[in-house]
Symmetry: C2
Subunit: 138 residues, 2 copies
DNA sequence: TTACATATGTAATATTATAACATTTAATTA
DNA sequence: TAATTAAATGTTATAATATTACATATGTAA
């Protein structure tokens, strides 16, 4: 048996998706698409499209998020995102450190309220908090 | 007296800033930088830099916001943004309508809480709510 | 097998944004 | 006022980000 049977088809990744995700997971900062491309050139990734296509899919299934204000990509560390595509990040304006916010039930509740107030339906959200982080405040 | 005296120096706009802001204010949707450029070509705006420089400044003083996930720009409709650079938007996934959220005190309170929880200081935030709007829900 | 959908490869090109440097205009100050 | 400095503008080129279009390959279902 080549590929073990998975209950969730979404979790079967193709080769390109796999190596892009691996790279993002071992990176400690968001990576840009062309940086991913250069990093993976020895693994057969030779064109922007290979990267963008893999990223598109990974984002679609919630394994990767795009930090819109940075045009950069991070692996998701919050198992819950897979379900709803929501994401919330803090971005330190001093040291550029980016981290995903885990416990965001309260946020979601508020945002749902905001959307409902205008009689519209919230599908997903993107939240970027620009902060000065603990270390940089010292 | 050519220019009336203003208490807040920030509100004196240069020619390019003025015409870019005017265009955004009369537009009913976010505009992309190159769309602004083409729109203003007859008014002497001939190079991307003229647009980007004006936008940078307008964003800095809170008169314009960038919708990061669309690389597009809108005039601020919330007098309060000038002070804090915060912005929150709803974006309809069906009809692309974008609108700025006015009353966001509650959001700010929540986000401050999130930042404080991690012992960091919130400087500003960018929030994009992807919704299905009132009209498109019908 | 055939038919279909999905994934991949490749080249070209579109879109968004900035760097570098020259010139002009406005604001300060000697 | 003239001289000095700072801010804004103009212009060209180029960098960085992302997509289109089309050819080929691979996997799946009938
Ligand atoms: Zn996540
Ligand atoms: Zn920091
Ligand atoms: Zn605003
Ligand atoms: Zn709509």
């Amino acid at each position: 048996m080549k590929n073990k049977q998975l209950t969730n088809k979404k979790e079967i990744l193709t080769k390109n998706q796999e190596i892009v995700l691996k790279l993002l997971e071992k990176s400690n900062e968001p990576l840009k698409a062309y940086s991913i491309l250069f990093n993976l050139s020895e693994q057969g990734v030779k064109a922007p499209l290979q990267v963008y296509r893999a990223l598109d899919r990974l984002i679609e299934i919630g394994k990767v998020h795009k930090i819109e204000s940075k045009n950069a990509f991070v692996a998701c560390i919050n198992s819950n995102c897979t379900a709803n595509s929501n994401a919330a990040f803090t971005i330190c304006e001093d040291c550029d450190a980016v981290s995903e916010i885990h416990d965001n039930k309260e946020i979601l509740k508020n945002l749902n309220y905001l959307a409902n107030r205008e009689k519209s339906k919230l599908n997903k959200y993107n939240l970027e908090l620009y902060i000065t982080c603990k270390n940089c405040l010292k």
